[in-house]
């Protein structure tokens, strides 16, 4: 069983197999399950993601509070009808990431990757690169195993909980997972996957969890947008041969220590950051009829 990214990459290199294959084999051994069984469970997760993406870019979803909904669809339509600045693939990932999180905020059905608040990044990136790389269904399922392998390391060595480590632990982790998985799908090496994860997570360090009114909506939906774009850019950097000066495991460790040092007001308590702005407080009062004034 691999405990960190270094071991994960070494295992893949030693056996000359992909990261996704390492994760699949570990799951089979750990739980004494067949390859078919493990694959079909991940296939089910993929289908849930696909439905959530589709729903978010085609339906006018809205959360119960009314704070979020419809932006993924709006961006998706903008891409179809305009010459965009960032280019279609990047924005497609952003639109699909936002769409997924809007469905989540509307209490729709999603697959946590690694959490619900960060559930847009991995599917957003996957269903955008799908258009360009034209993967098989198996390759798409493998994308999720590769994401899972990197998320597994973060969850065991740092945290994937906003309440424990801030948004860097949620959207930050998801971004690193997606970046690493794109690299594998695009034909990069296991080490390049690790570089992509390190580069993208570095750019998410320090990100606090400050949801307005305590809802997984503002700023979560747009943080997923930022994560998706960051993941694709970082994957391109890694595929270009650019490396992170700080190794991936040390970046993960830094994320953990930053999360520990973060005050509790900035860890999913809705007491600081954007939640504590005058407008954030006003939304809270409008939605719940009260405001917690503690800062």
């Amino acid at each position: 069983m691999f405990r960190n990214v270094k071991e994960l990459v070494s295992l893949a290199e030693a056996e000359n197999i992909s990261i996704s294959e390492i994760m699949i084999r570990q799951e089979m051994e750990q739980y004494d399950r067949s390859r078919n069984d493990v694959f079909s469970q991940m296939d089910k997760n993929l289908s849930v993601m696909e439905k959530a993406v589709h729903r978010g870019i085609t339906e006018q979803v809205q959360s119960v509070s009314g704070l979020t909904g419809g932006d993924g669809k709006k961006l998706y339509e903008y891409i179809q009808s305009n010459e965009t600045l960032a280019g279609p693939l990047l924005l497609d990932a952003v639109a699909k990431a936002m769409a997924t999180n809007e469905v989540n905020a509307a209490m729709g059905t999603i697959c946590a990757t690694p959490t619900a608040g960060s559930a847009g990044v991995v599917p957003g990136v996957l269903f955008a690169v799908k258009e360009k790389l034209k993967p098989t269904r198996e390759q798409m399922i493998r994308f999720l195993f590769t994401s899972g392998a990197f998320g597994f390391v973060v969850a065991n060595n740092a945290s994937i909980s906003g309440a424990a480590g801030g948004c860097q632990a949620e959207v930050g982790s998801a971004t690193g997972m997606a970046a690493a998985a794109v690299v594998e799908m695009a034909g990069g090496t296991p080490q390049q996957s690790a570089e992509a994860m390190a580069i993208s997570l570095k750019n998410m360090l320090g990100l606090v969890c400050d949801p307005v009114a305590g809802l997984v909506e503002v700023p979560c939906v747009k943080r997923n947008a930022a994560g998706a774009s960051n993941a694709i850019v970082s994957a391109d950097l890694a595929l270009a041969g650019i490396t992170s000066r700080i190794p991936c495991d040390e970046v993960i460790d830094a994320m953990y220590r930053i999360g520990e040092a973060m005050p509790s007001a900035l860890k999913e308590t809705a007491e600081g950051g954007l939640a504590a702005t005058p407008t954030g407080r006003r939304y809270q009062e409008e939605i719940f009829g009260f405001s917690t004034k503690k800062v």
């Binding site: 999603i110 909980s161 509790s264």
Partner: protein, 220 residues
Amino acid sequence: MKYRSVFDIIGPIMVGPSSSHTAGAARIGLVARQLFQMEPTWVSFHLYGSFAKTYQGHGTDVALIGGVLGFDTFDNRITEAKEIADQRGLAFTFHEEDAQLDHPNTVKVRLGNNSDEMELVGVSIGGGKVEIKELNGFKLRLSGNHPAILVVHNDRFGAIASVSTLLAKHEINIGHMEVSRKEVGKEALMVIEIDQNVSEVILKEVETLDHVSKVTKIHE
């Protein structure tokens, strides 16, 4: 290593909006229901840390009630859990606690009916994964992700050996086991995580062993 499966990371499939505050909460409620083994008529939830601060916004309240009603993380009925609880005659209350505990997402669940009651402390550690930390005052560590047998017994020589021997006879492999007691020689609790579900027949057999007073199980 707290996380052992890739499906802890890619998963669960769930009703939004929060894996820790919605899916994790539903799982804690569901474990409480499975351990109680009966239809509860009342439940009180004591919320700590981030749970106490943001439970309404994250649907933690409906998820906890939904779990106690027997709904899994992906069950759409979670959104209407309060109405369904009213229909089924389950009275619920929520209490925001100020105490600072080790983990920010902690809930103490008390539930019962005319014949019995139970108290459990659960923590949502992230990504929908949970740990049960306390049951009726016994310290324990239970993930709720694997089938498990909980055996209340008297703290006497041979009690643990007799249970493990019986499981071995039925070719049931123990994945994780721990024993907790409040006082030497008094009531104690064995928590046995296993690889597969066990039949009621085997549980009944465990219950007939010397020094064993109660056996409950949770399924995957």
